[in-house]
Amino acid sequence: MEITTRQEKDATVVMVQGRIDAVTAPEFENHLSSLIEKGGRRFIINLGALEYISSAGLRSILATAKRLKAEQGDIRFSGLQGPVEEVFKISGFYSIFKIFDSDASAINDV
């Protein structure tokens, strides 16, 4: 798993590549937690290069989203594809989160 972060306007865009499984999910969640601690409130998570996600990854996302909600923050997803999109659909994450085709549309949508 590889995580790259960039700031665009007031949004923190987090691109995660590779696999989020039970081994790597804690690292992913810790990374997001540290960004929230540094003041990040608007997150776009780009999953375009994510090959694999299991329930451990979904749990990290849900925990992060709950935390952001408590801080009046926001989390959005872009670039969903393949098996990751399928897992989002099956688990209902597709309907509880805001999903966009691209980072740009996620950033610009108000």
Binding site: A22, Y52, S54, R59, K69, I90, S91, I96
Partner: protein
């Protein structure tokens, strides 16, 4: 059913990648596509992680995983542990319509297994949990 490969290791998260690699290689050899292999990996991970976390209640124990094939018909992953009885069919399904605030953290793993596999069986036999995850080879 023909056994293709078996590994027995301590039921610890450290072994997850080795076990998933084995399952993935077996599935590849049976000609399954990338998407189906990904789904098999997810189902196997969910089943294994449940065992790592709950089966032995802090005490050590092993997990054994085998790949089996019924040529031209089905590909099966069999996962055996000697821990606490755990019937995945006794787990209630998560409510996938709740919003972020109300959505519960648990229950997604077993739900994914059932949704992604063509057949799932559970048996408690001789103090062992025997879980099978099966996909059809005919497409």
């Amino acid at each position: 059913m023909e056994v293709l490969s078996t590994i027995r290791v301590p039921a610890k998260l450290d072994h997850l990648h080795a076990l998933i690699d084995m399952v993935s290689n077996c599935a590849k050899e049976q000609g399954l596509g990338e998407k189906r292999i990904n789904e098999i990996e997810i189902a196997a991970e969910e089943a294994l992680v449940n065992i790592f976390h709950y089966a032995y209640q802090g005490q050590g124990g092993d997990v054994e995983i085998s790949c089996k094939v019924e040529r031209g018909r089905t590909f099966t992953i069999e996962i055996i542990d000697s821990g606490m009885p755990f019937d995945p069919f006794s787990v209630s399904e998560p409510d996938t319509t709740l919003d972020v605030a109300e959505r519960q953290i648990g229950g997604i793993g077993v739900f994914l297994i059932k949704k992604l596999m063509d057949e799932v069986t559970y048996q408690r036999d001789n103090n062992k949990n025997i879980l099978t995850l099966t996909v059809d080879l005919k497409t």
